[in-house]
Every structure is written in C-alpha cells, then in structure tokens.
Amino acid sequence: MPVTHVKNSFAPPEVGGDVLVVKDLHFSYPDGHSALHGVSMKLSVGDKVALVGPNGAGKSTLMLHLNGILGGHGEVEIAGQRLTRDNLPAIRAMVGLVFQNPDDQLFSPTVFEDVAFGPLHMGLPEADVRARVDAALEAVRMTSYRDRLSHHLSVGEKKRIAIATVLSMNPSLLILDEPSAGLDPRARRTLINLLRELPITMLVSTHDMKLVQELFPRTIVMDEGRVVADGLTTEILEDETFLTAHGLEKP
C-alpha cells in the first residue's frame, strides 16, 4: 500500500508554556502495592516523548493519573491548569488518552458513534459534533470508515480509529499506551507515519525501541515507580549498560 505524506491539516488548540507538568507524584494501590514513588516531568508544546521501561514500572499507572482516573499525592498540571476533582471534565477534554486494547476504547456499535462520543459529551451542538468527527477521521486518514461497524475492523484499523476518538475532542496532549503492540508490519508503518504527521504534543509508552528511535527525540525511562532517565533518545539508547539494567534493549 503506497504511503502518502500529505500535510496534516489537523491543528490542536493554542497553548502557552508547558502542556504537562507532573510534580512529585506518589501513588499506592488499595491493596498496598506502591506504584509511583515521586515521579516528576515536564512536557512543552510540540514535544514528542517516548515513555519506556519494563513491565510493572508504573507507566500505565502514571498515564491514568494524567487525566484523573487515578488520583495520587502530588501535582499534575495540564496547560497551566491544576488537576483537581472539580475540573476533571475540562482536563479530560485537554488530555487524549488512548488505551492499549482498542476493543476497550471502541465501545459503540459504529465508528461514527465512537468518534462522536467525546464531543457529544462535551455538550457541543450536533453540527459541531459532526464537523469534529469528520476532522478527526480525516486526521487519521480514515474518512471512508465513518459508517463501518466497529467489530468489523482489523486491529490496525481499530487503533487508528481509537486515536480519532480522542482527536475529536481537540486535546492539547495525546497519550498513547503501547500503540504498536500487536500490529503487523504494514499496519505498524501506517501508524508510524500517522504519529509523525500529527502536530500534537505526545507522550507514548512503548516497548518498541525502533519506534522510539524513529519518532521520538526525547525519552523518559521509568523503573520501579521512578523516573531514572529523561533526555535525548540518541544519548539514552547509546548506554547499553543502562538499558540492560532497566530491562531494555538497544534497537
């Protein structure tokens, strides 16, 4: 399938300063298991950051804090707004969280209904909702899928539609959990091209080190609930001892 690199017309809202600020985040699960031990990070507008680490490092737990599904001790700021229980609806419009399993993300019978869910629940009028759905599907290059039944789609198609379901909310920050997991090479290549084109601040958790190398200039490494590295991808990937110590491999 030929790949076309068309300039993406999708544009997230204007945000000044840091899109994401996390200050000293601690979290323990109800069963006592301590998952985050003082995590801090900052993302500026336009940053594309990879989040890597072994299983159990706390990556998914961290992500669930960034739109308020989990609440720990510490501060989370999205585009200057402090995340509290009262402004969750506003935060969730700004943070687009895409889960690992697209079957969990696509819960409506048709693609249209799924992509429309976000803007509809934001209270937008019908005409706006439709416009947003069209724009989001366009951004992921799946306009022709609008009336398709969700359960008919392949894994790769579902993953791209899942991204569309959060894009329709016009978020400032896109967070993806293992986007390339389970994809065949062609679908993976399509996804990589899509992520490359989207002009939106991104934090992507992944085990796919080649993806990290190709798409993300900056990498954050987590292990055992802590941030153990945060810097240029090229530098981090050079240090093989470091990588092995934290359950990673050089691509």
Partner: protein, 263 residues
C-alpha cells in the same frame, strides 16, 4: 470465527434498505399482529399476506426466495402444537393407534394446527427480512425513537458491539478444551459428568472475570472521553415522505388482509 458470523444485514441500495428503520420495525410488528388476529383457515388472507411478503422480498433486491430459504428455523417448535390435532372437537378425519391408545385427528384440529404453522411461518419471515435490510445499529436507533427506555437500548448496543469479541473468547476456550481432550487407546475418556460440568463452569467463571475487568477498562475509556453517568446519542433519522406513504400502505394492506380473513 469470522467477524461477520453474527451479521444478518445484507448491504444493498434497495427501496426497503433506504426506508426509515422505525417504519420497517413497525410494519414488521403490525404484520405479525395481523397474522395473530387472523382466524384459523383464513386461506385467502394467508395467501394475501404471503404475496405481501414476497413483494417485500422483491423490493429488497435480496432475491424472491430470500426469506423462504431461512424460514424453517422455527419448525422444531411446531411439535409443541401437535396436540391440537387431537384435542379440538370436530369432524374426525382419520384415526390411528399408538401403544394401545387411539388418536383421532379432527378437521378443526387439523385446521388449527396448519394455521398456527402458517402464522408462525409468515411472521418469522418478516422478522428475517427486517434484519436483512436494516443495519442493527439503526434498528437500535429505531427502538430509541419508539420510546424503548434508553438504558435497555444502551445495553443492547453494548451487547451487539461485544457479541463477537466475547463469543470469540468462548470459542478459543472451547478449542483449548478440545485440544486437551485426548484419549488413550483402551481407556474410556471424558471424565465424569460432574467433572465436565466443573470445567464448563470454570470456563464460564473465567469468562465472567475477564468480562468484568473488561467493563472496568471500558468504563475508564468512557471517563476519559467525558462520560459522567449520562449517555448522549445522536440519532439522526428523519421521516421522509415515502416513509409515511409506506406506513399508510402497510396499514391498508393489513386492513384488507383482516377483511379477507373473515370470509
């Protein structure tokens, strides 16, 4: 298992396909009610209803015999009605003997039995056609329009969405069980009934847990997109002129059928 194992919709650009789903659902129900109202032995009305059905088949572009081919699905249930052959008083048609008892089939009984079968046969075909020309999500919208409570239509929508996903899991569990259901020569295999029941129950329990945890993740996904307890839907079906005309026509046809049934 292919993802369209549970699909009954056949995509076409026919007149029926383009009708509002409310109209199709209503006409189907009116047709079935009409059949229920027809007295036994109303042959003229039954044939008229059948012609209506065949016309609908043709209009759907799915082939004149589309519903006919699938219509035998309810046949086994006919057994339950077999007793009317003998118990309805009337002129005896013929008698036979089974295990020292005499059974007499009466004319009224025969009429009742055949009429039950015909009513059922006609009704099930219309129901088959309904889902062949209406996408199921649109049918759910029709139910919403027809004032079925939102909580029920939403559960049905979720059920439809995850039907394939969960039954696929079941089939994988069943296949895994089968792969481990070996037998060595000379030994009777299979385990006792209780053990088999326990395995089946474990599969069901396993499936339940996975489903429960899946619903938690779905809930998180809904939260992430702004869900806060109330579900909003866009339900953009507008009745066009032809929808009203078709409904009116269907009512006339049903009325004529009922009149024919009284002769």
């Amino acid at each position: 298992m292919h993802f369209d194992a549970f699909d009954r919709y056949h995509e076409k650009e026919s007149f029926l396909h383009r009708l509002d789903p409310r109209v199709k659902a209503l006409v189907t129900v009116i047709f079935i009610v009409s059949n229920a109202l027809l007295p036994d032995g109303a042959w003229l009305a039954f044939i008229f209803g059948w012609i209506f059905l065949i016309a609908a088949n043709l209009l759907s572009q799915l082939g004149i015999g589309y519903t006919l081919k699938r219509s035998l699905v309810a046949l086994p249930f006919a057994l339950i009605a077999i007793t009317v052959l003998f118990t309805i008083p009337g002129k005896p048609l013929f008698t036979f003997q089974l295990f020292a008892s005499h059974f007499t089939v009466t004319d009224a009984g025969f009429l009742r039995f055949v009429s039950i079968l015909i009513r059922s046969w006609l009704s099930v075909q219309m129901a088959i056609l309904l889902v062949a020309v209406t996408r199921f999500p649109d049918l759910i919208h029709a139910l919403e329009h027809l004032k079925v409570p939102a909580i029920l239509t939403t559960i049905i929508a979720f059920l439809y969405r995850y039907l394939f996903v969960l039954t696929d899991e079941v089939f994988r569990l069943l296949r895994a069980r089968e792969s481990r259901s070996a037998a060595t020569t000379g030994n009777r295999s299979g385990g006792g009934v209780l053990w088999r029941a326990r395995v089946a129950g474990n599969m069901a329990g396993q499936l339940f847990l996975r489903s429960y945890e899946r619903s938690d993740r779905i809930y998180n996904a809904m939260l992430s997109r702004g869900y806060s307890g109330h579900l909003y839907t866009l339900n953009a079906h507008e009745m066009k002129p032809r929808d009203y005309y078709v409904t009116a026509l269907a009512i006339v046809v049903i009325f004529v059928t009922q009149i024919l049934g009284r002769f």
